[in-house]
């Protein structure tokens, strides 16, 4: 009698255990597949861009990279103008935003009165999340007309007789153009740089800074000799991330760049970037080779940003290991 009951209990236990083992395996594999899906997505992005751009790349060959002519009518396409615009706008934006961003981070970590530190830090982080279309619409309606009236005529006038600079700042002042886009990008990546730099500044051990203060260093000397060397890799990582963002940014730039495929030495002139070209022209592209050329632009952007972002992550990873050790 008791034996039979024991057997029944054993049977049920075995069933429950088997059920648990099964659900456990299912869940384990569901998780694993989801993780693999992340890899598949990036792989898919690459494969689809290559297949989409195949036609244009086969037709134009390597000359696609070095041709500035972009003519949907004759179906000849070259990527030089967008590539140039992308690199120049991102470079100018970084040159402006990095010193200011680091300045904000120094202010937040060393100078700001303690009660204000958290609110300002949070405000900076919130601003980093504002969608880029907001910056775009502001740039178009407020900032570009403002530049057209003030900064651009000023730059054109003041450098009119200086040899190289007169070409760099050659008018007319349209308001929109490469310089305007660069400034908007700079404003946009500013909170981003500031909040990352602040985070890596916070990893500097207090003891190290205090010992520098203890031997009589000024605040600037502590920042220059202790904080920045200690966090150099992290700052570089943050800057590269911001660069990746500036290179791929679409909406903020599309509004104010002017979408002109003419290469111009003047940074006041309208130009275009890879992402702005795609955003402006993709739905209008009728011919297959047109679509394919836009896909090729996407592929080029993918390559550039992938390398930059990979380098950035590698640097931040090294930084994290340093902080952990």
């Amino acid at each position: 009698m008791t034996l039979a009951i024991a057997e029944r209990v054993d049977n049920r236990r075995e069933k429950v255990v088997r059920h648990f083992a099964l659900t456990d395996t299912i869940f384990h594999w569901a998780c694993r597949l989801a993780a693999i899906a992340v890899l598949v997505i990036l792989g898919g992005v690459f494969v689809s861009l290559v297949s989409g751009s195949w036609e244009a790349l086969a037709k134009f060959g390597p000359a696609f990279l070095t041709t500035a002519r972009w003519s949907p009518v004759t179906e000849t396409f070259g990527a030089l103008a967008p590539i140039y615009g992308t690199l120049v706008t991102a470079a100018i934006a970084i040159v402006i935003a990095v010193p200011v961003g680091i300045g904000i981070a120094v202010f937040l970590t060393e100078l700001c009165p303690r009660p204000l530190r958290r609110p300002i830090g949070i405000a900076v982080e919130l601003l980093a999340g504002i969608p880029s279309i907001i910056y775009g619409i502001w740039g178009l309606f407020v900032f570009a007309p403002f530049l057209q009236r003030t900064l651009q005529p000023f730059l054109i006038d003041i450098f009119a007789n200086v040899p190289v600079l007169s070409d760099l700042f050659a008018g007319p002042a349209y308001g929109i153009g490469i310089l305007t886009s660069s400034l908007i990008l700079a404003i946009m990546i500013l909170p981003f740089i500031a909040s990352i730099t602040k985070d890596v500044f916070d990893t500097v051990p207090g003891v190290v800074k205090e010992s520098a203060y203890g031997i009589g260093c000024t605040t600037w000397e502590v920042v220059r000799r202790i904080v920045i060397p200690h966090t150099r890799v992290g700052i570089m990582g943050g800057v590269m991330l911001a660069l990746g963002r500036a290179l791929g940014e679409t909406m903020a730039v599309t509004f104010v760049i002017g979408n002109s495929h003419r290469l111009s030495a003047s940074i006041i002139a309208p130009g275009t970037t890879i992402s702005a070209t795609i955003a402006n022209e993709f739905t209008e592209a009728d011919a297959d080779v047109y679509v394919s050329s836009l896909m090729s632009l996407g592929l080029i952007l993918f390559f550039i940003t992938f390398i930059i972002l990979a380098a950035a992550r590698y640097m931040l990873l090294r930084m994290g290991r340093q902080a952990g050790a």
Binding site: C31, R32, I133, T218
Partner: protein
Amino acid sequence: MTTIYARRKATNAMMMGLCVGAAAVGLAWLALILGALLYKGLAGLNLAVFTEMTPPPGSAGGLLNAIYGSVIVSVIAMLIGTPIGILAGTYMAEYGRFSKLTMIVRFINDILLSAPSIIIGLFVYELIVRPMGHFSGLAGSVALAILVIPVVVRTTEDMLSLVPNALREAGTAIGAPRWIVIRSVGYRAAMSGIVTGVLLAVARISGETAPLLFTALNNQFWSSNLNAPIASLPVTIFQFALSPYQEWQQLAWTGALIITLTVLTLSIIARSLTGRKEGH
């Protein structure tokens, strides 16, 4: 001797002055943008914005169909992206914390996290729009879902990694199989963090324009058909802002204000969720 001190003090004063200046200028600039947005956006904010359809050029109207389309596309995107993101994050934190796969996925995920969103749009165009032969709301949702996944993966992994192992061991010690430990111990302990990640993901996609331009396209009219082009707030803003019509431009500003307020509200809620946990 004193000249050295004087010089060091002067350098310090100058550099610190520059830092304060940078902070003042940077923050003032951003305040200026938000101010302009409030000023121009509020001017057009009225009930009609939420009750009327997008108007034809030159007449008044609202943004109802655009807001509705945005909500539908975003909800579907979250329904696709959140489970995948949470499961992948679970794998990385619970099953394969030190495995090679986790290391690679973490690296790739971080790249996806900051990849240009317009490239995701191109990918989905090749993946869905071209085979189907037409633009569709579903394609827009998939594009946004791909932007959701990395955000959710990242926060889920981070939050589950913070759960102390002793809790898991306690669960295992009373005989719970692993997935029940994860569900009843891991998820429960990391709940507020995971919800934060989901909210941040919603905040991220609610303003995304580029990936919708050539997936969901746009629609002048009320439509909830996921198999056809659907209106969305960001794309409508883009189209209206670049138009020459006064009424459209005003609606673009109002739409921009709505998006910004949504994003800021979501981020603040997300922040207060984790903030409370840190306070404990």
